[in-house]
Symmetry: C2
Subunit: 318 residues, 2 copies
């Protein structure tokens, strides 16, 4: 089966990115008064763009559980269109994930971390607002993510608490933050083993992708088997994303990526290309894609969108 | 009525602090493996002590809603003792509040913020673990607070989502972080008005006290009137705490406080004593205490513990 011919991924991504962008700034509105600069700093970094891949994964997790298939799905159908309460819950969770991702970028770019001046082609938050305000903007975005989920109403409140747990697990001391901590330790120790690298990738990047697909599935009422599939696919897609990121940092240009390239080597970061070479990194990416495709093929046509998305991520240029 | 003669506050505080300390480190256990340093940094700052006033407020909010009165209450009765599910929920929420408070201290002490070397008589987190690891330990504690609440089980899951919303509101961009941002802006602009000072105190400190009392009330099933009382008392107690803190920074010694004193003036922070003088600051503290006592007196004997606690905070020496 050639999934690509059955499914227009670009339409699917555009529509779902439109849904996310249409709500994100409503959850973080501009603010008058003494704290206006804080909100400006939060919105500046959210506005700085990105493909909204993680929030799209939240919506895709719900689509998967509700069995939406091509060709209907890229014509605009999505899980939330069947129930306004579910739509609200999904968009809140999706935007919360983007807030968490954005906070992690702000803190990651700070002078005491990677000390980056450029992100998505724009000056990083601390370059514009200063270090202290950037720190606070990150703290505020992380907290606001949970506030946004906390406003999910009946009859989705119990599922929303499961979303809080799943997202905090993926982004906290067992997930994303642990990955960043070990990334930092390896960098400052000047190296690490393949098992350290695996630890870092699984947590720093894959854990939030895993949580994103899973929380969409949770809100849509997925059963244990569906949620296990989403966890496994989400983690694999996240690993593909990170290996590709490492490869692009070596091969890409600043114009393509909108950020400083070659930083991984400069900082002495532990990466696949750095540790095992570019060719092994590319092979790893293909193996991961095959793994995701195998899991999704067993799910029938509802697995096609995620399968095509995973393929796209291995080929991305920015 | 002399509330003090009816109620042994110290016993009450000791018992509840014991409950909190007995659970806190179970929710943040030591961790083997590559991320062990991250957990060490989190636990180091949690262990560095503190009176656990905010988590005690969570438990006190529940006691208030359930109508617990002296003298039974200081003999060890507490709201959670009636139902193991409620006890679990209350202790999770209480410890989550302490994690949030602790993360805010870690980030506040960082070089780009107040640049403090000493906290509760010990070296601050970044002095021990470095700036980057302290940043991540703060991020991890904030996230872990929501993870800990996310694990609250039936039949308290819906109330737990309300707790997530209330706590995120009190500690985020409309609450604590906003207060810190405006504190910072005033400091760097070299001043501000009394209305700025009010804005800062309400958010930087009072919002988390307000949320703490309120979430205890929410979990115990408080009605709208009870929750409104707890919000109002919580905010007032928080304001008392901050005014007292400002006074102690002028009058206290490093031995008493376990932190560098005189820092507010050094940093040019906007404070009551700095803006309006020590005498006006002391009068403000008395007025706030009278306000809290009036609200609580109208609630009968169940209001005594909170009333005595508020009085104690105006007299604290550290």
């Amino acid at each position: 089966m050639d999934s690509n011919s059955l499914f227009n991924l670009q339409d699917y991504l555009n529509r779902r990115k439109g849904l996310v962008d249409g709500h994100l700034f409503g959850y973080v509105p501009p603010c008058e008064g003494p704290a206006s600069t804080l909100f400006e700093a939060m919105r500046y970094t959210l506005e700085a763009g990105g493909k909204r891949l993680r929030p799209i994964c939240v919506l895709a997790g719900a689509d998967f559980v509700m069995g939406l298939e091509p060709p209907e799905i890229e014509r605009g159908d999505w899980a939330g269109s069947r129930d306004p309460g579910l739509a609200d819950a999904l968009l809140r969770a999706a935007c919360a994930v983007e807030m968490i991702h954005t906070y992690s970028l702000i803190h990651d770019d700070l002078p005491c971390m990677d000390d980056d001046d450029l992100r998505r082609g724009l000056a990083t938050c601390h370059k514009v607002y200063g270090e202290a305000m950037a720190l606070l903007a990150g703290d505020a975005l992380l907290t606001h993510a949970f506030f946004t989920i906390g406003q999910i109403g009946d009859p989705f409140k119990e599922r929303a608490l499961d979303v809080v747990r799943e997202l905090a697990d993926g982004s906290g001391a067992e997930g994303m933050v642990a990955g960043q901590a070990v990334d930092l330790i390896s960098e400052r120790m000047g190296g690490g083993t393949e098992s350290h690298l695996e630890f870092i990738h699984r947590r720093k990047t894959a854990a939030l992708f895993r949580a994103s697909l899973t929380v969409g599935g949770i809100l849509a009422g997925g059963n244990a088997h569906d949620l296990e599939t989403l966890r496994s696919v989400g983690e694999t897609v996240g690993l593909i994303f990170q290996v590709t990121d490492d490869i692009l940092d070596v091969e890409g240009t600043e114009e393509e990526l909108g950020k400083t390239t070659g930083r991984d080597a400069e900082l002495g970061k532990l990466t696949y290309p750095g540790l095992l070479g570019l060719e092994t990194a590319r092979r790893r990416s293909s193996e991961l894609l095959s793994k995701a495709e195998d899991i999704l093929q067993a799910c029938g046509p509802r697995g096609i969108p995620l399968s095509v998305l995973a393929g796209k991520i291995t080929q991305r240029r920015n």
